[in-house]
Point group: C2
Chain length 218, copies 2
């Protein structure tokens, strides 16, 4: 599949590399084609990897990942272009974090909205699926780094889009029973607000190689 | 130990009954002494259970639990009285939920504060420990309802107070390794904002008998 990865940071690189390793053609997008991080990533990722502007990568992909910082995501997606994203699945991996009060940062969208919903409202012709934002990027693409039946969430209004994302998550190594569908894109609030607990847990646990397992009575 | 349980709802009743069963003397407090729920609870809980006003219960307890609805907690604690709570450990189990937008409710305190912090600010002479707010009240007092190494959190500025609460949690059945200390009372933000995910999970999982286990690489 052709996939656009928007954002050149650690998250974009981890997801982009995993997708290339799985045989997909991946174009990493940034504000301007020729971005230094993106070019270095293309060299490392090898065959199947390319880079370009946000517009280029969004047009290239049959599907796209938003791996930008949360606070810049809407602007980056505007630049990627409504038409280039129309009709496509957009996996939103971003968190809006506000460090203005010091560490740990606070979640920046408030409690009665989410970045996932904001993106879905701004791009009504795109099928937004919130996923993977609840863990370290290394765990996202290699869940075996953490033992146990830990969980990943998907949130979105389009059932087919969520099925496509679930299939991709399975190819990353997530067993289907550990992919929890939280419902419509409104449920992205839960996945995004959890990040406040995730940040506190990171401090308590002492490593980013952790996750939560949802356990229930049988 | 003498313990005041402030609030007569399901959470107060579950915690009160468990404490009585463990041999503590428990007074359930409500706006006015003689509350119908509280009187029925005293009858069920038996020896060691009593009821009274918020003031009565706070004065009675060497320790207190805030089991009121989040939105009413500060008013209830004001009524309980600063002097009656001074120098004591107050375990804050409450969540502020806002149902004005329909179901599921949203978390009502915003992302850069928490009820735990609000209570600690309003009662600087009381040792506030946020705990147990991340699960169904039946799981709070009987973690064996859910299989696996699932977790409970404690947040608070006073280390000795957290140690007292940890000991009480162990007596409820929580093994010490599953009691995660998230740090100061500021970390109550994480525990409270997680409730947005908990609400979404409840819908996805289909039972309140669930919890999260924090798993990490060894």
């Amino acid at each position: 599949m052709r996939i656009g990865v928007l954002g050149t940071g650690m998250v974009g690189q981890a997801i982009g590399s995993r997708l290339v390793a799985l045989g997909h053609e991946v174009q990493m997008g940034s504000r301007e084609a020729g971005n230094e991080n993106a070019r270095a990533w293309v060299e490392r990722a090898g065959h199947g990897a390319s880079e370009g502007s946000f517009e280029d990568a969004a047009a290239f992909g049959e599907m796209a990942f938003n791996c930008n910082a949360g606070a810049h995501s809407l602007a980056a997606l505007e630049q990627a272009g409504r038409d280039n994203l129309a009709g496509k699945v957009l996996v939103d991996v971003a968190n809006v974090l506000d460090s203005s009060e010091g560490a740990p940062p606070t979640v920046g969208v408030g409690t009665n909205d989410s970045l996932g919903e904001q993106i879905q409202r701004a791009f009504p012709d795109t099928k937004v699926v919130k996923s993977l934002n609840t863990m370290n990027c290394e765990v996202m693409v290699d869940p075996s780094r953490v033992p146990g039946d830990h969980s990943v969430f998907v949130c979105g209004d389009d059932v087919d889009a969520k099925d496509q994302v679930k299939a991709l998550l399975e190819s990353f190594g997530w067993p289907s029973g550990r992919i929890l569908d939280l419902g419509g894109i409104r449920s992205a609030r839960g996945a995004e607000l959890y990040v406040a607990l995730w940040l506190a847990l990171w401090g308590a646990v002492g490593t980013g190689d952790f996750n939560i397992a949802v356990v229930r009575s049988s």
